[in-house]
Symmetry: C2
Subunit: 754 residues, 2 copies
């Protein structure tokens, strides 16, 4: 496609905005509209912004995109998908479908994805990345992320032999059935039972009450042929708690639910999220499964009903921690989509001339140039990188922990559990809020489906609840902080993980040395901002301990734990964010590292700015002083707060010219972003107009069948001429009835002479 | 319907959950499932909670629902709608439709609404309230709220004669076309032109560039027959700025767009919002309209082109301020929907026994009993009431101002402008965030479409941008604070409105007397919390002035203005919230007033808690001290902060038992809330199960045509037996292809013996 050199404000013919895709013509503006200066300059503006980039974005991209698959694989896979007949236009079409249509499409898409995978010999990880980038939430993707890992993680070698390969090969499609209508977070309270039956040497799965109905399992509603069920193990009248059981659900032959089971889809999700996924409900009516269907890598039941407990009852935690540890960088990537769109659009969008201008032909200011915009967006850029890179550290730490756990060594388990809980709770919520902040920064056009947030926010939304409700996780972090600080009380030399080392500041003076900054520049020093994060986290734990000392029960401190956990997470993210950059310094390069370190600084300073109260409040005794702080002494002096705001302001201004380059470095393809406002080339107005012209609602339907839903007939000669069918059935009659009521019998003619 | 007395945990047959509606049977659980204790007790729990209500919710309801229509009218209208063939099941069905279907339905619904209005002789206001409660965003509702008021407000008497009644009577359907592709907030930058043509004594409407295309106007896309266009007035080469012009758009006869105009729908909105509304784009190609189509109540153009400016150039502000002043209580009502659902569900939802319990049959704790829940939700209840009641005050103030303006008296204009800008910016954002907070408090089931948030959040989302972008409004508030405090600098006795009176504290010692609280109870005194709100707002303005004194330009202070405006709004909301209760004290009753005043207190204390830094930071000179505060002296002492948190905690605990009654007092019908989780009777699990059983995705389609979309066949014998058609076309082939690939030729049989 031609670059900005052709963009003549007087032109009334437009260059294509995309390649043709299957039956779809290339997108472009068709009506003969003079482009005008405002639309013409957007591409020049973003090109000029890129000339200021003082580093090589592709170096950063290569490093951060080297994750579960490397960047070259990623580009290869995305290249195939973006030019595919079905997937090239996937995101645009799905928005035009109702749920039934989306479900049908997502099943079809999974089949096609697997065909492509076979044709191009993609690895499992490449298939998963493809599904994630497509926002393809479907029974088959759930099979991959929620069912297969459980077989391999919780099944014995023999069970993996029986089921694992067949699952990998899609001979069966599975789902993971844990949550029930009445119980989610409290797994111990699940009501589904698996009762051992001596006579048949089997387990009887049963759903005894309304609230025991399995609920929410993705793929369960209409699709899965098999499943893993979490149920209360009962042997000879004794309860052993929740265990996992492999069960058939539907006939491979015709998809009908097996006798003794009833199941279905639980209904639409909020904000039209996950339309293509059949989250399901199911009930068991004394349904028999063989005894050796109980997943028995850890716990087992022998013939006759003898229960063999797992060598270490914490071994099964591994799966839960695994999932949480995988979520952290994902939330960073989701936020990075939002911030990429926001930075590009706010750069090219101009509104209001400088107040000192008197010439109405002066160009209006770029929205990104307003501090209210940059001060809100650039920190979100820092957060995106923070969660991506801290998330890499998290996954490495998990792998170290899991390796030790294999040989029964639980040394790292507790720390990884606490860190993953803390970061899961914190990052999912920050990313969700950040995504909406990005969308709101887009102003009016941010409300368009073409802004690219239609699935981004709704699909991030449940992350604050699943895999551990964030509020419950925050309490667990609070509890851990009390436990570890209690150990330090007994022996100040107790070894503690880096992620909790700030707790030493509670009882040991100068354990975290800190001088209140005397200037904005002081705040840029890691020994200052990281120490401030540490001391804030320590102060909040001190306050928590004081509440308990004053007689409050821990169970009543769940609100206080929210802030304790946030400050803990901000400390850990800061720590890991900078460590991750050091790890990759060679691959990144000097200039690249330099700018990323500025993002580390900005992330830390804005995290502090979020809540300065614990640091600026002078100590006032009653067990709330950090060690070494006298009554009346605050950690941070009032002048330092003013310096902090200036430090942030100046740093944002310094990073701002690099922000386009830094978001380019995420490497998102336009096709992946699915956003007219986030086009890399900045041609936002042309894209909005092309889509508005060719919006299916403005054209006759090309025909029945799902293949024709959501088709954009770019270049049609009929643009602007279509009248909707229901004009005749609804609007016409409404107007004529009104004319009848009118005192003078109504308007004559076509109404153009009123 | 029978009440909770029948709810036998052992029962396997269920009572209806609703009345039949047209062709729909009554909702109920059909499968023979033992109810169980968890599901049975929800209705008992909420009934018991209501016995604790220490006031009469209906008294509050009567007062707060006496707004644009009175409560009796409202109940009459809602009663008709909730039992109507179409509207009784409206909200449930819309979620199952794609956009084309929703658009068709919303046109049909408007026609039906008007038929019902005629049949039952509803007033205009009753029709508007009906549309709002249905979340019926359609071309006809936009006609009422965005087109008709402009004709009546900006048209001369003669123009009102020509168009006003025909508009009221629906002989024409209008839209309001202001925003363009390239300009929204900067109205002066609009590019559409209206050029006077002497020869024909007409105006030529023209869209000269791509970015001049009119964009976003509701109803424009596919429906409106006429419109009011904001365009740059040009006479004999001279520009006079944006003015309003009445124009035909479509033929009344067949709905085709008139020659010289091209128009269409702009595409889907984010989060599937406003599916039934055709926000549109349009372009004019030298389209002629008569000279007397320029709305000329204020400005006029005479034959020959003489421009007559309006007597007061601020007169046209009235319309903009009107719309903002109407929005405040509406945001409160939207938030009140969310909090009603959240309080009811969190009460009946139980998860985890008390940690001290050792008996697994002990009942689990109500989620609402966790401080992390109540501490977050009860303040949102206070905010709902605050915005509803402060919004009433806002509307009264607007009416006073408008009455004076009629006779040319602009005395109140400035204050109402500032207050409406401040509250619009603040309340819309607080409500939006609050709605999501309510949904997240629902845990896992909050992600279901049946939670009732599917349209609530998405349709509140654009409010932070339309009718004045919130960030821009915040800057306007900041500018006003500088202006007024500057006047006070010159003469400390300058009269200022109540809403800005806190500014006196900047320069006059003890203008706002305040003693730092010595106990939690101290914080409950209005002279303490209102003074703290005042002093915080004054401190933030002081900081803003200091930034300017240090040389920063106002145009670079847009970020700082955000917090200035928030603290201003919180001061004003507190002021008006308590005044509104005094105004209605007689009608409300003692007990009712007592509990509402506690909500006033809670609203103020949580507003303070949101940002205590300006109050706890000791003064440090350099022009940032409030009058009378020495260096090192903070407004609020550190102990007071601890007391504040305890004060909030204790107040939340005190109000909590009344929170069900207080949310009942909003008077929302279950049908209006459209939420399975927010049922007044608490029967949440039965409703979720009934809907999951009868979810259309789980049943054969009842037939073609839009009448059959989204139908729930409650009581069907086929529940749980349906296999989706695409199982044959997509899943079956996927599994068979996998079997072929398998090393052993695949699984034999139906897979139930794996």
């Amino acid at each position: 496609m031609a670059g900005p050199s052709y963009m003549d404000p007087k032109s009334t013919t437009y260059q294509p905005l995309s390649e043709p895709s299957g039956k779809w013509p290339a997108a472009k503006v068709t009506l003969p509209i003079p482009m005008g200066e405002t639309a013409a300059r957007t591409a020049r503006d973003i090109e000029e912004a890129r000339t200021k980039t003082a580093f090589d974005p592709s170096k950063i991209e290569e490093v951060i995109r080297d994750a579960r698959i490397d960047n070259e694989s990623r580009k290869r896979v995305m290249g195939t998908l973006s030019t595919d007949d079905v997937f090239g236009t996937w995101k645009k079409r799905m928005v035009h479908m109702n749920r039934e249509q989306q479900m049908q499409m997502s099943h079809f898409a999974c089949r096609r994805l697997l065909e492509l995978a076979e044709k191009h010999d993609w690895t499992t990880h490449e298939v998963i990345e493809a599904a994630i980038t497509l926002d393809l939430q479907s029974p088959v993707t759930i099979h991959w992320v929620a069912f297969v890992p459980v077989i391999f993680g919780q099944g014995s070698n023999e069970q993996i032999e029986r089921w694992g390969n067949r699952a990998m090969n899609h001979e069966i499609l599975g789902c993971y059935m844990q949550t029930e209508l009445g119980h989610g977070t409290n797994v111990q309270g699940l009501e589904t039972t698996a009762t051992y039956d001596d006579a048949s040497d089997s387990f009887i799965l049963h759903s005894p009450t309304l609230t025991s109905t399995k609920w929410w399992a993705g793929g369960l509603g209409r699709t899965a042929t098999h499943g893993v069920v979490q149920a209360q193990l009962i042997i000879h009248g004794k309860r052993y708690g929740p265990h996992l059981f492999f069960t058939p659900l539907r006939s491979l032959e015709d998809g009908s639910v097996l006798p003794g089971i009833v199941a279905g889809d639980i209904g639409p999700k909020t904000y039209a999220a996950f339309g293509g996924l059949d989250n399901g409900w199911a009930r068991f009516d004394h349904f028999k499964i063989p005894r050796d269907n109980m997943l028995n890598r850890h716990a087992q039941v022998k013939k006759g009903g003898e229960y063999v407990k797992p060598p270490n009852d914490k071994l099964s935690y591994g799966g839960m921690i695994f999932i949480r540890s995988q979520m952290i960088d994902r939330t960073g990537w989701m936020l990075s989509r939002g911030i990429t769109i926001a930075l590009r659009y706010c750069l090219v969008r101009r509104q209001f001339r400088d107040p000192s201008s008197t010439d109405i032909t002066d160009v209006e200011r770029s929205v990104l140039s307003y501090p209210s915009t940059s001060r809100r967006l650039v920190p979100l850029l820092a957060k995106s990188y923070a969660y991506i890179l801290a998330g890499r550290r998290m996954r490495t730490l998990y792998e170290d922990m899991a390796a030790k756990l294999e040989s029964g060594d639980t040394e790292l388990l507790y720390d990884v559990h606490v860190a993953s809980s803390s970061l899961k709770a914190y990052c999912t919520k920050q990313a969700l809020d950040g995504i909406e902040e990005c969308r709101q920064a887009l102003g009016g056009h941010g409300f368009s489906g073409y802004a690219g947030f239609t699935t981004l926010f709704p699909e991030q939304a449940p992350a604050v609840t699943y895999e551990g409700d964030n509020i419950v996780l925050a309490s667990q972090v609070g509890r851990a902080m009390l436990k570890i600080s209690g150990e330090l009380d007994k022996d100040a030399k107790t070894p503690v993980a880096n992620t909790s080392a700030f707790l030493r500041a509670i009882a040991t003076p100068n354990a975290v040395p800190f001088q209140s900054p005397q200037s904005p520049q002081d705040w840029y020093r890691p020994e200052v901002y990281s120490a401030a994060l540490a001391l804030r986290a320590a102060q909040l734990v001190t306050d928590l301990r004081a509440e308990i000392a004053e007689g409050r029960k821990f169970g009543d401190l769940s609100f206080e734990c929210i802030e304790v956990a946030k400050s803990h997470a901000e400390f850990v993210v800061d720590l890991w964010f900078s460590e991750a950059i050091k790890d990759d310094a060679e691959a990144l390069g000097n200039a690249e590292c330099g700018w990323l370190r500025k993002l580390v600084t900005l992330h830390a300073l804005t995290a502090l700015s979020r809540n300065m109260t614990p640091l600026v409040l002078p100590a006032s005794g009653q067990g709330r002083n950090l060690a070494g702080y006298r009554n009346g002494q605050a950690v941070v002096a009032p002048e330092s707060v003013v310096h902090l705001e200036k430090a942030i302001r100046d740093l944002v201004a310094e990073i701002l010219p690099q922000s386009i380059g830094l978001s380019d470095a995420f490497g998102w393809l336009d096709w992946e972003l699915g956003s007219s406002l986030g086009r890399k080339d900045g041609r936002v107005y042309e894209q909005l107009m092309a889509d508005a012209e060719s919006n299916p609602l403005n054209h006759d339907s090309p025909g029945p069948g799902i293949d024709n839903v959501g088709r954009y007939p770019y270049g049609s000669e009929k643009t602007g001429k279509h009248v909707v069918e229901w004009y005749k059935t609804e609007i016409g009659p409404l107007l004529r009835a009104a004319a009848k009521r009118s005192e003078d019998g109504g308007i004559r003619g076509d109404g153009s002479k009123l």
